[in-house]
């Protein structure tokens, strides 16, 4: 509950490890599910850029620098998280590390995604997410209302 530095996700995918690896590291395949059109392929130490195609986020540029590609085991890159604001230069700011870990599991492949380094992200960037999420604030307003009315 108090860890503000990383996010971890796990999903069991009903596909062999080689298939999942291709969906993650082949630029065209990655683009299909991540909803991005990449201009170049992924390569260790290289920057890959592209255009996000998620409705409402078409102004966003995808930009990642690959750290590791351990065949069918680990794929990782660095990027700027939630870099959605138009006209903001994120390039001088700290990045987060996204790691995709692949393991064999009965019935398919266990994929673990860890994004870490959020504690180094500037305070105002993290605060921005609040503005983007009015739902959370409606709930908060309701909490305050209940608090003052009780």
């Amino acid at each position: 509950m108090t860890n503000t530095d990383h996010i971890e996700k796990q999903i069991l995918l009903r596909a062999p490890r080689a298939r999942v690896w291709r969906a993650l590291t082949d630029a065209a395949e990655f683009g299909r599910w991540f909803q991005v059109v990449l201009e170049t392929g992924f390569a260790v130490g290289k920057r890959t850029t592209g255009k996000i195609t998620v409705p409402g986020y078409e102004h966003v540029t995808f930009e990642a620098t690959v750290e590791r590609m351990d065949h069918e085991r680990l794929f990782s890159f660095r990027w700027h998280p939630y870099a959605v604001e138009p006209g903001v230069d994120y390039s001088k700011e700290p990045t987060t590390l996204v790691e995709f870990r692949l393991e064999d599991q009965r019935g398919g492949t266990l994929l673990t995604v860890v994004e870490s380094g959020f504690d180094r992200i500037p305070v105002q960037r993290r605060a921005l997410a609040f503005r983007m999420n009015s739902g959370g604030w409606d709930a908060q307003a309701e909490n305050i209302r209940r608090h003052v009315e009780s």
């Binding site: 969906a23 994004e115 305070v123 605060a127 997410a129 908060q140």
Partner: protein, 117 residues
């Protein structure tokens, strides 16, 4: 939306001190400790750590001003506890990114099911 507007928003103005208060190792440890153990006195909180009572008091003051913790007098001691509502706001940023990963991984699963080869 412009950067200036983002800063001018009441939400960002309200949230920034919250993250500033959490952006310190000792204060994060205090939050973790209060979260795990429930309300505790300053004496208990400074026991078994390198941090002095004075420093703990100072850090708790910062957390209190950010609305993250509150102290109540009990006899001669002050007992500190977390304000859980405020802490959940700090989680909101990660929750939002977390939800985006959920959506992305769900699309990956669908993609692999539709194109198994």
């Amino acid at each position: 939306m412009s950067r200036a507007k983002a800063f001018a928003s009441p939400q960002a103005r309200r949230a920034a001190p919250l993250f500033a208060a959490l952006g310190d190792e000792t204060r994060l440890l205090l939050v973790a400790r209060l979260s795990a153990n429930g309300p505790e006195s300053i004496t208990a909180l400074s026991e078994g750590s390198d941090v002095t009572r004075q420093a703990v008091t100072k850090h708790l003051g910062v957390l209190a001003r950010a609305g993250l913790a509150r102290g109540q007098s009990r006899g001669r001691e002050r007992i500190w506890q977390l304000e859980p509502g405020r802490l959940s706001e700090a989680r909101e940023y990660l929750d939002q990114i977390s939800r985006q990963w959920d959506v992305a991984l769900d699309r990956l699963r669908t993609f692999l099911e539709n194109e198994p080869r």
